[in-house]
Symmetry: C2
Subunit: 355 residues, 2 copies
């Protein structure tokens, strides 16, 4: 594993921990030398680094897949060029172009930086033409053209995790319903309570995108469901994704094992949802040393399981863990997961009590 | 974690790896000092060590539970004293006593050393009185009285994993059918295809034993099912057990998470079997460096998952991993697991190819 942090979460289970930055030439060369196949965990990893490793070892998903998904503008272009349904959007490399683009996509709209930014960062919502100047000033054009996108009044957000093997074999997990709060995924319910035809549409869309990307690994496809049953693609993430964490508890093959199978050229595992499930994220609500309380109460429902990421630092809205609950249906599971998450609190840790 | 081996499997995920023998006073003191609660993975751990740690920290299961289960003769006495049904047995501290004991328990019988020995080691089967002298000579009386036990013509072997919390809460996994080959567990099918009344008898037995042991943690109870529906207790193991490995894939709370919940004083998780499942052990078939082949074929059934223990050395009949399969029923799952296991082979590794 290549990770500059001494507390790299993957380090304890890795054979070798290369402590270097994600774009260090020496670090990447060492990673290639010690590995049979290389994958990445965050798509912000520089595609240049992936390309460098690819000269010596297979990188899966490939640097080309990474480049298409890691960069918002390229992702939009990829989806458009392949005819996948998306909300109206334009790119704009100046304030004047932004005004014109906004008129074309319609109101309200969201202006986003062309790459980087996640969990709601790097974007500004605009309700009227008067909001555009502030958005342009806040985001700037120095990273390249801004992306301006119609804010679609969706009835639900959906997500699908699709896995694709080295030989093109595809396996797709249940279509799930997701809920975001100010850009951050907060809840997932599986399966999504939508008509079969819509679930099927979402599944086909995800599998088609995986094929068009020539994906090897797992891919999360986030979508909007519109009032008339239309499904639009919102975002892609070519890696195990927060919307698939429930698979650890509710499927025999988790999205993590599936990703490893795919990149190692092994056959894919079963993706059947064994029981309805829901996930609620645990977000930081303060800055500074803190410890989790309420675990006993959260786990008093036997259908609940708790997953903590062991992150060294807490800050507001940082994803620190999640709870998964199984249930008789997605609503029952979600109610259980919400109750458990509500019992959990980050309690300030006195400096003297720090480990 | 306290483990003398530099390759201790638990070391990578432990905060501290204390490299000392399991009975090292310094090692045990350090373990107590650095831990909030202590548990053990193999019941061969010396109860003296557990008692030493117990002076400073909670040991769960307790040293008393460990002492009762870790020593075959004490386990037999415990089961007898609490009135749990077992096959006829006697203890014998001399060749003459062995002859008398054999007459009392009946033929065929099995003579076993009073403690240690597992996977079929440390025991001799006797079909006639003429076999007893050789058994006594092979096993000896220097470790204490031998245990002589009637070999019961069972129709099936069953096992139950029961978990018991700090507050006495009990949760029991499905009753499973197990198959041993020459003393080594080779196959598990869940649920056991037995009448509901028998499964219920096995469950109640396991829970009663957990209560009588004042268990905190998980306990495997291995049993014999006799032709007329009688259930006899064979062996106890106060820890996650090979017969419960299928819970990783087929239940939302694995036996390992359950053990951690119990010893940490947390509420127990759901034990429902989400899908019928089966497990087949992967045993070494040679001595010396070897690598596993046939993984691709084994995983070509998507319902199969592979678990390897990363043991550094292979030897004949050593447990090196297992496959789990889910299926439409326990027979279907078992057929899938057997097919997958049959595809896997330990291939000799040329010295030059060693990692």
């Amino acid at each position: 594993v290549l990770d500059p942090s001494p507390q790299a979460p993957a380090a304890p289970v890795a054979d070798v921990h290369i402590r270097a930055s994600f774009d260090s030439a020496d670090g990447l060369a060492e990673l290639a030398r010690t590995s049979d196949v290389v994958t990445f965990e965050v798509e912000h990893t520089a595609p240049d680094g992936a390309r460098q490793v690819e000269l010596r070892r297979p990188v899966r998903p490939s640097s080309a897949t990474l480049a298409a998904c890691q960069h918002r503008l390229r992702e939009k272009r990829f989806l458009r060029d392949h005819g996948f349904p998306v909300a109206p959007w334009h790119e704009a490399d100046s304030a004047a172009a932004l005004d014109a683009a906004a008129r074309s996509v319609g109101w309200p709209c969201v202006v986003k930086i062309p790459f980087a930014g996640y969990d709601g960062r790097g974007q500004v919502r605009c309700a009227t033409p008067g909001d555009l100047a502030a958005a342009a000033a806040a985001l700037g054009f120095d990273r390249g053209p801004l992306v301006i996108e119609r804010h679609i009044p969706f009835v639900a957000e959906l997500a699908v995790i699709v896995a694709r093997g080295l030989d093109g074999e595809r396996r797709t997990y249940s279509v799930v319903k997701t809920v975001h709060d100010d850009g951050i995924l907060v809840e997932v319910a599986a399966p999504a309570a939508v008509p079969q035809a819509i679930a099927e549409r979402a599944r086909v869309l995800a599998e088609s995108i995986a094929g068009a990307l020539d994906l090897v690994g797992v891919l999360a496809v986030e979508m909007f469901l519109l009032e008339r049953g239309e499904v639009l693609v919102n975002e892609l993430a070519p890696r195990p994704h927060n919307s698939g964490h429930y698979t650890i508890n509710a499927c025999s093959t988790s999205q993590f094992e599936q990703h490893v199978r795919a990149i190692c050229g092994l056959p894919l595992g079963e993706t059947t949802l064994l029981r309805p499930a829901a996930m609620v994220n645990l977000l930081g609500d303060r800055r500074g040393p803190a410890r989790l309380t309420g675990v006993e109460q959260a786990l008093s429902d036997p259908q609940v399981s708790l997953h903590l990421y062991g992150k060294a630092e807490v800050w507001p809205r940082r994803k620190l863990g999640h709870v998964t609950a199984l249930g008789d249906g997605p609503d029952d599971a979600l109610a259980r997961a919400r109750r458990a998450a509500a019992a959990l609190r980050w309690e300030p840790l006195a400096a003297s009590a720090r480990p």
